[in-house]
């Protein structure tokens, strides 16, 4: 993984000094809150309901054991003993004191971390595949380019005050696991002409109050031209993106207003004018950065392991974990292990300081010192020898991190909602807890199969509800929390926006409604292999709608066994 050079380290330390000075001046009253607010936001410090919240950048979701330990230490010393992993592969601390924030940034700088550009109208953390570098379906490791984008976008003088925040995602695999279609810019590494890998560039995707699936703007872009092309897109957006209306200021609105063809024409025109050699990365610099991401030197080993097989036979919980949380690795005899921070009944994405320490230790002992954060608020140990899998699993059991529900219905993505967030209209966490518990039984969850479930506490959609196979949006209805259900969203290659099913439900009725929806799916699916999304796309939303809003009509037609549970 990438390690800070002297320039990076000096820059981050200088920012820490600046911020310490800004906080001191604020506490003395030399600067007002209006003057200070943009400064603290540039360092990831928000004011939430109960306290300040610090959002720490985890560049493209990659952490070393030392960094994860430091996050655990910060949770213990400065927070209430836990942190919350986010849908941008970052981590948030919910109980921060302003007077201690400079000390936290100093601690982060010691391990090459910071909170810069985790807020504000600038280019945010680049999302990528949590299995980058190890996935069997990968064309090329996207982390190299994610790091290049990080360096290019960090305090880029032209792009620190964009009309609105700006999010980029990149994937290098056949399967999109970075939700590129829901980003301002999505980048896919593809096989181009003459067997050279190139980039396909998508633009104008996003969630929020106006969900949009990104449009393809350039099917093939030479990789060495990436930065100048990104710069051209950003320039057009920076110039023409709306600054008069917060809700219309994202690039998706501009792309929609102009149409993709006109937007592309303007980007090409801008790109023509740019002095590309001064922007694009020289090959030597590319190679210098790429060297940090050389694959871990792993020896191929047998793809069966007696200890693993024996444990699978003897221990159903281990067998379930292996079925759901263990993934093929490009090197035979190795696997990637997903750690679901989604034990039913717990807060999605939260990890205690002790759990962070435990994962760091497993990464050091068995995982070549690398941990990934997924945008689904889970962790991944990407490089585990199959022969170490049992030991890793036992370590996870001891840490209370052995939920075998990765990407099942109870692996719910949820924002902090009204329990913490100043913007939220409704709570998300208790809803996630209730629903996850309903589907907590392993056999039931596995029978339902892969199902992306998302909950957002407001229309800003931090819980990505638009892209959930089942999505929940919290709304304020005359002072009470209500929840709107959307069905049919997908964040992947077949990206789609969920469709609203009907009027919203009060919190107490929501779990039943979800049970009904799942029961309809189980009843209607053609076979157990047909996923929820596939069934939904085949039968449409009417059967679900009828079951929820017009059950009497169903009764007269003969109610199924599944529905009687409701």
């Amino acid at each position: 993984m990438y390690r800070y050079d002297e320039f990076d380290q000096a820059f981050v330390e200088e920012r820490c000094r600046q911020f310490r000075d800004q906080v001191e001046r604020r506490l003395k009253g030399d600067i007002s809150e209006d003057q200070f607010k943009p400064l603290r936001l540039q360092n990831g410090l928000y004011l939430q309901l109960h306290a300040y919240m610090l959002r720490v950048a985890v560049p493209y979701g990659v952490l070393s054991a030392r960094q994860l330990r430091k996050l655990g230490e910060i949770a213990r010393r400065f927070d209430r003993g836990f942190g919350h992993f986010t849908t941008r592969q970052n981590i948030q601390f919910n109980w921060i004191k302003l007077e201690e924030a400079p000390d936290i940034l100093d601690e982060l700088a010691r391990v090459g971390m910071h909170a810069i550009q985790t807020s504000g109208n600038c280019i945010r953390n680049t999302t990528t595949d949590p299995f980058a570098g190890v996935a069997i379906d990968e064309i090329e490791d996207p982390r190299v380019w994610a790091e290049i984008i990080r360096q290019w976008s960090t305090i880029h003088p032209e792009f620190l005050f964009l009309p609105r925040k700006f999010k980029i995602a990149i994937t290098g695999a056949a399967e999109d696991r970075a939700a590129i279609a829901f980003h301002d810019i999505g980048i896919r590494i593809v096989m181009g002409k003459e067997g050279r890998s190139e980039f396909s560039i998508y633009v104008g995707g996003g969630q929020g109050r106006t969900p949009v699936v990104a449009s393809l703007i350039r099917p093939f872009l030479k990789k060495e031209q990436l930065l100048s092309y990104l710069e051209a897109i950003l320039r057009v957006y920076n110039l023409h993106g709306r600054r008069d209306n917060l809700y219309k200021s994202r690039i998706k609105i501009l792309v929609k207003a102009l149409g993709i063809e006109e937007f592309k024409r303007q980007v090409d025109e801008e790109w023509e004018k740019l002095d590309k050699p001064s922007i694009d990365l020289p090959i030597e610099e590319y190679e210098r950065i790429a060297a940090y991401f050389e694959p871990v030197n792993l020896q191929a080993a047998p793809i069966q392991n007696e200890q693993v097989t024996a444990r699978e036979k003897a221990d159903p919980a281990f067998a379930a974990f292996k079925r759901n949380n263990v993934f093929a690795h490009r090197v035979p005899g190795h696997v990637s292990v997903a750690i679901a921070l989604k034990e039913p009944g717990k807060i999605p994405g939260d990890a205690s300081a002790d759990q962070m320490d435990a994962v760091a230790e497993l990464a050091e002992r068995f995982g070549h010192d690398e941990i990934r954060v997924t945008y689904s608020q889970n962790l991944v140990l990407p490089n585990i020898a199959l022969s170490d899998l049992v030991a890793v699993y036992d370590g996870l059991v001891a840490a209370g991190l052995c939920s075998a529900n990765f990407e099942l219905i109870s692996d719910i993505i949820a924002c902090p909602g009204l329990d913490y967030c100043n913007l939220a209209n409704a709570r998300a966490i208790p809803i996630a807890q209730d629903i996850a518990k309903r589907f907590g039984e392993q056999k039931k969850a596995e029978d339902i199969g892969p199902l992306r479930f998302n909950i957002s506490g407001c229309i800003n959609a931090c819980g990505h509800h638009h892209s959930g196979n089942i999505g929940i949006l919290g709304v304020d209805k005359k002072g009470t929390e209500h929840y709107q259900i959307t069905l049919g969203g997908s964040p992947g290659d077949d990206a789609s926006i969920g469709s609203i099913l009907g009027p919203s439900f009060p919190a107490e009725d929501l779990p039943e409604a979800i049970e009904t929806i799942v029961a309809i799916y189980l009843e209607k699916r053609e076979n157990p292999k047909e996923s929820f999304l596939a069934t939904y796309r085949r039968i449409g939303k009417e059967p679900f709608k009828d079951a929820l809003y017009n059950p009497n009509a169903l009764n007269s037609g003969g109610q199924s066994d599944a529905l009687e549970e409701v």
Binding site: R26, L27, K28, G29, E33, L47, Q48, L49, H50, A51, Y52, I96, K97, L98, E99, I347, L418, D419, Y420, A424, A426, R427, I429, P430, Q433, G479, T480, E481
Partner: protein, 92 residues
């Protein structure tokens, strides 16, 4: 004339971010039941002026007046948001 709803003034402490309410003698208190309740617009104006002074003195930020119910003379929050704030922690 619009109907009047009793109010208290709330804020977050600058240094810690803690939720507080304006109590008697312009002291900021943690417990909403200890907050001074404004029963009319003149009383609210006084509370808001005190809130502004505390803001100017770098003691608190994000000062605002919020409607409350009054039970046995004490303020009670009634929106979900303010119930969660007054509890000083998440509902879970």
């Amino acid at each position: 004339m619009p109907s009047w709803k009793p109010c208290v003034v709330t804020a977050n402490m600058l240094k810690t971010g803690d939720v507080v309410y304006l109590g008697p003698q312009e002291v900021w208190v943690r417990n909403i039941e200890d907050a001074v309740v404004a029963h009319n617009s003149d009383e609210l104006a006084e509370l808001e002026a005190a809130g502004q002074r505390a803001s100017d003195a770098q003691l608190v930020i994000s000062v605002y007046a919020m409607d409350v119910d009054v039970v046995e003379g004490k303020a009670r929050p009634y929106t979900v948001r303010e119930i969660i704030r007054a509890a000083h922690g998440p509902s879970i």
